[in-house]
Amino acid sequence: MPVTGTDIWYYYICHREVWLMKHQIAPDQEDESLDLGRFISEIYYRRNKKELSFGNIVIDRVRQEDGQLVVGEVKKSSRYMKSATMQLLYYLDYLRRMGIEARGELLFPEERKKEVVEWTEEARVELERAVKEIQRILRMPVPPKPKKIQFCAKCAYREYCWAEE
């Protein structure tokens, strides 16, 4: 099963989420933070919204700057920096393997903030490991056990994960 950018994002937050998403078990659709995410991606950057989809990746925004391709990834908040960065690096690495050198930008419209992300050799090695790990998780017959982490508080899976007793 091909690994997507969002899989990378989830992987750095919660392994269980990767498994559930990949098994088409989406989180609670009535959850408010999901609505917010949808809203942000629809509303911001409407003027130069150029979503690009190829292979198994979907890029939020691309533009040209000084002859170089700039790939943008829009996020609700900068709280999960590591995840967001790795996701973007995955796109950069993907493009690189196709012979395209690109720069990355993490966009946090709510915070009016922008972070530049550049491909590195270390990132490539790290991503290779992550992809292998994701594939191992996906082969598990049963989803990984829930773990209480900071992300749970706002996760649309929280009721599913913690519905017990």
Binding site: H23, Q24, I25, A26, D28, Q29, E30, P141, V142, P143, K145, R158, E159, Y160, W162, A163, E164, E165
Partner: protein, 333 residues
């Protein structure tokens, strides 16, 4: 959380651009589409195909009840949540006799536990303690037999036995000459109390169905109530857990508070049913109850009764996926 809409009047449900409205005698009432999860229709209501298309698109379920308050059926929009993995697991648990029996037993256990919870409450409040003690003692004995049951039919028989004993305490709890239990009668109910039980249960069934729609579970595959691939059955299983603490408790309180009295019932040639006025009172009190919240230990927050049903379904799904053995909800009070 999304709301439930109950319609008792006669009229028409129509779509207008991106919203829905209910029209009655020249008056139009708009329905907040994004905020409605299901619609219960008790009145004579005409719907158009355009309305159903829009309801389907917005994932709104429509439950129909006839003139007498009997459940007619549901407009269950095309599946919007689909996960092949979950459906396969659900089917596997149905086809594997041992797995099916195990789940069916869980539902019965949950049901007996909840009936016991109701009785314990009244034992602590009423003088006739020995009545409750005897029945609770029988409950314990029957519960021990559950693990020996070799078939779903045996489980059903055990449950029927327990329920009979449970109902035998109703006269002690209610102590009202207008609401005697006698025996359980359905289609049609022969007395007022039976009319209330039937009506209440039918609404709880549809609530469970509405919640199933929001999960990956297939309502056609039940474990205790057999599948026949034509009608829904999983909601009947899940409702077993909630009928005692939701419907029965509500009935006791409606009668004790004299909110429902003799005049709220219609006598038919062969039975007795809740009148329209009675149904309105019942439904509005039930809705209040569904929205009241209880503290949920594991989630660390309070959740509504309605949400408890959803959580129960999540637990069943986790059981099917092999994550965690299903333990039915046990009210603590």
């Amino acid at each position: 959380m999304k709301r439930t809409l109950y319609i008792f009047q006669n009229g028409e449900l129509r779509r207008k651009d991106h919203s829905l409205y209910f029209e009655t005698e020249g008056r139009k009432k708009y329905i907040p589409v994004e905020n409605t999860s299901d619609i219960y229709i008790f009145g004579e209501v005409d719907v158009s195909k355009r309305f159903l298309e829009f309801a389907s698109q917005k994932q709104i379920i429509v439950h129909y009840f006839n003139h007498y308050g009997y459940y007619v059926g549901s407009f269950y929009p095309r599946e919007h949540l689909n996960a092949g993995h979950v459906i396969l697991k659900q089917a596997e648990h149905y086809l594997d006799g041992r797995k099916r029996l195990n789940l069916a037993r869980r539902f019965i256990e949950g049901s007996i536990q909840q009936m016991g919870r109701v009785l314990k409450y009244y034992r602590s409040r009423l003088e006739a303690k020995d009545v409750f003690d005897n029945v609770l003692h029988d409950f314990e004995k029957e519960s021990l037999l559950l693990s020996d049951a070799q078939s779903v039919e045996q489980l059903m028989a055990l449950e029927g036995h327990v329920r009979e004993k449970y109902y035998s305490t109703f006269d002690t709890i209610i102590r009202h000459p207008d609401f005697v239990f006698e025996k359980r009668t359905k289609r049609p109910p022969h007395n007022r109390l039976n009319a209330l039980i039937s009506f209440g249960n039918s609404i709880v069934y549809t609530m469970c169905l509405s919640e199933i729609y929001k999960t990956y579970l297939d309502p056609r595959i039940g474990f205790l109530h057999s599948t026949n691939f034509r009608r829904f059955s999983l909601h009947l299983d899940v409702a077993e857990i909630f009928k005692p603490i939701i419907v029965d408790r509500l009935i006791f309180s409606l009668i004790n508070k004299k909110m429902l009295v003799k005049k709220h019932f219609d006598k038919l040639t062969d039975g007795i049913l809740l009148s329209e006025e009675g149904r309105k009172i019942f439904v509005s009190e039930l809705e209040k109850k569904m929205q009241t919240t209880v503290q949920h230990r594991h989630l660390g927050k309070s959740v509504s009764y309605r949400r408890l049903i959803r959580l129960e379904l999540y637990k069943i799904q986790k059981h099917l996926l092999g994550e965690k053995e299903y333990e039915p909800y046990a009210a603590k009070w």
